[in-house]
């Protein structure tokens, strides 16, 4: 019994320490977004709100942010559409090459980014395609695709096929069944996949580095700036993105809870 008591105390303490460890760089980035510093944002000089008030005093930084948002938005949209279709086909239909398709969708996730980046760069080079925003989007859709498929697939597997059967029994056409029954039930999975792929695309550095040409995304800006000294405005942007992402996660969870409660009440 004594052992149990110690265990009860050690486990939470350990988990707390591990989580604190994970959060240290986030807190650091946030705190140093308030630092009175110009270029070398490494030593604490005092508190200021200037960087938050004038984020775009560094025009190049805001341009990079804009580029990143555009790239992530377009890549997410394409990857989500392609990936959702693949996921539905893989779970709902039986066809000959099914396991081969699954395997080839798994391979990109088992490929180091550096390999994918170098491969795409070789392809664009040998085709004579100039690298730029277009090639970055093509690359981002590629590495987001597999993650979308895995995420949506999990949701399709949870789906109760009797609901769709009921709809067709009630004379709904296959198109109606899809848009009125299947799709709405898949929305949470599709949303999760879109968020994941947005996050992956927004934060990607290596594949982008290989295929960007003259385009500067937010991670590329940080990479270049890190050599000379990172402006605190970069911390402001990263912190805002972080807060926004956490708010979205919390909102989806609260929404999911409310929905569950409503369903429970309905029953």
């Amino acid at each position: 019994m004594r052992k149990l008591a110690i265990g009860r105390f050690i486990f939470p303490l350990y988990a707390l320490l591990a989580l604190v460890f994970l959060l240290i760089p986030i807190v650091y980035t946030f705190v140093f977004s308030f630092n009175q510093a110009r270029r070398r944002n490494t030593i604490w000089n005092g508190f200021t709100l200037d960087h938050w008030a004038n984020v775009c005093s560094r025009q190049d930084l805001c341009d990079a942010l804009g580029t990143s948002l555009t790239i992530s938005f377009i890549s997410t949209l394409i990857a989500t559409i392609l990936g959702t279709a693949l996921a539905i086909a893989l779970v709902r239909y039986r066809f000959r090459a099914r396991s081969a398709v699954s395997l080839s969708l798994f391979l990109p996730m088992a490929t180091p980014e550096i390999v994918m980046g170098a491969g795409l760069a070789s392809l664009f080079f040998s085709l004579g395609i100039e690298r730029g925003m277009f090639t970055v989007i093509l690359a981002h859709v590629m590495f987001c695709l597999s993650f979308v498929v895995t995420t949506v697939k999990a949701r399709v597997q949870m789906l109760d096929p009797t609901l769709e059967e009921a709809a067709s029994d009630l004379y709904a056409t296959p198109t109606q069944v899809f848009w009125k029954v299947t799709f709405p039930l898949l929305v949470p999975g599709i949303m999760a996949a879109a968020l994941l792929s947005f996050a992956l695309s927004f934060d990607d550095f290596i594949i982008t580095y290989f295929n960007a040409g003259n385009v500067t995304t937010f991670p590329l800006f940080i990479y270049v700036a890190a050599k000379g000294g990172l402006p605190p405005e970069a911390n402001v942007i990263a912190s805002s993105v972080f807060i926004l992402a956490i708010l979205i996660v919390v909102a989806t969870q609260v929404y999911g809870n409310l929905k569950k409660k409503r369903l429970a009440l309905a029953k």
């Binding site: 052992k3 486990f11 350990y14 988990a15 591990a18 989580l19 460890f21 994970l22 959060l23 760089p25 986030i26 650091y28 980035t29 490494t42 693949l86 539905i88 086909a89 239909y93 039986r94 398709v101 699954s102 080839s104 969708l105 798994f106 990109p108 490929t111 180091p112 980014e113 550096i114 390999v115 491969g119 795409l120 760069a121 070789s122 392809l123 080079f125 040998s126 093509l138 859709v141 590629m142 695709l145 697939k153 999990a154 399709v156 597997q157 096929p161 009797t162 996050a199 550095f205 290596i206 937010f218 991670p219 940080i222 890190a226 911390n235 912190s239 993105v241 956490i246 996660v249 969870q253």
Partner: protein, 304 residues
């Protein structure tokens, strides 16, 4: 697939009989598969093709199509230290990340199971680092662990490091960064498996007089194998190919260069795509071999 445990947390019990195929399935599959072929498989072919060209430097630098296997021999002899370092770092970092993540995932998945709000909060905190730039996280550690920071003063004082030695730029600093950056990739799949662990098995074990360590070895560990496999794969693979942590601008120095460092240097700095691609192909090949052996091994152990 081992990776399935990463995202699906419900067993596949409701999917019923898949519907028969037809034109619909083709319409659903084709766009994605064509994309995959064009921007994943063809680039791999382009990669292999480029890894075999001959670099000619006179009169000006150009590349002749060839079957120049010499590139691979060059790469292996020239970059052998980087190759062993990459896999060595990846091995150590994955192992430490597993040791750190397992108790954390166990606590979140099993111990706080009866408090869903706390559980969800903790999962959110585990994935929180994903939402702040990977590069900024690494820069934060670089600045926190630089010389003369409070943390490093302490480390020097207790004698873990000689006063003249810097931590940043050393191998352990790179491994530290790799561990930190990839812990969420380890914790998440472990959590999704442990969350489904039926505690009644554990109770049955102790009812039959098994010691806590025996319960862990004979019940908990085998049942969490899928999570361990996907977690270790999700950390080992990206770590072996990582570029950022070992880079001189982040936590490394020229003494810590990894495969990724050399690929970037050859491809983007010194204009040697033939060695950059040969090294990439080699990395991919070694990972595939290791992963296949590992999954087979782990798979049979799971059956025992």
């Amino acid at each position: 697939m081992a990776f399935a445990a990463f995202s699906s947390n419900t067993p596949n019990k409701n999917s019923g009989q898949p519907v028969k195929s037809g034109k619909i399935v083709l319409a659903l599959l084709l766009p994605g598969l064509i994309y995959l072929a064009m921007f994943f498989f063809i680039p791999l072919v382009a990669l292999i093709q480029t890894s075999l060209v001959k670099r000619v430097s006179t009169p000006s630098v150009h590349f002749d199509p060839a079957w120049n296997w010499q590139n691979y021999a060059d790469v292996i002899s020239r970059y052998w230290p980087q190759i062993t370092r990459s896999f060595g770092y990846a091995f150590v970092a994955t192992l430490v990340a597993l040791l750190i993540s397992y108790p954390l995932a166990y606590f979140i998945g099993v111990k706080v199971r009866h408090r869903p709000v706390l559980q969800r909060l903790m999962v959110t905190l585990v994935i929180a680092p994903f939402f702040i730039s990977f590069l900024l996280r690494t820069i934060a550690w670089k600045q926190l662990l630089a010389d003369h920071t409070p943390i490093m003063e302490f480390v020097h004082q207790i004698g873990w490091l000689q006063p003249s030695q810097s931590f940043i730029g050393s191998g352990p600093a790179v491994v530290f960064g790799l561990i930190y950056n990839f812990i969420p990739f380890m914790t998440l799949p472990l959590y999704t498996t442990l969350e489904r662990l039926d505690v009644r098995f554990l109770e049955a074990g102790s009812d039959l007089y098994a010691s806590p360590s025996k319960v862990f070895r004979k019940i908990t560990l085998p049942l969490s194998m899928p999570g361990i496999i996907s977690g270790t794969l999700l950390t080992f693979i990206p770590i072996a190919g990582d570029y950022v942590n070992a880079s001189q601008d982040f936590l490394g120095s020229e003494k810590t260069s990894m495969i990724g460092t050399m690929v970037v240097q050859d491809q983007l700095v010194t204009n040697n795509p033939q060695t950059a691609t040969a090294l990439s192909v080699l990395l991919m090949g070694m990972i595939l071999v290791l992963v296949t052996i590992y999954v087979r091994r782990a798979g049979t152990e799971e059956l025992l």
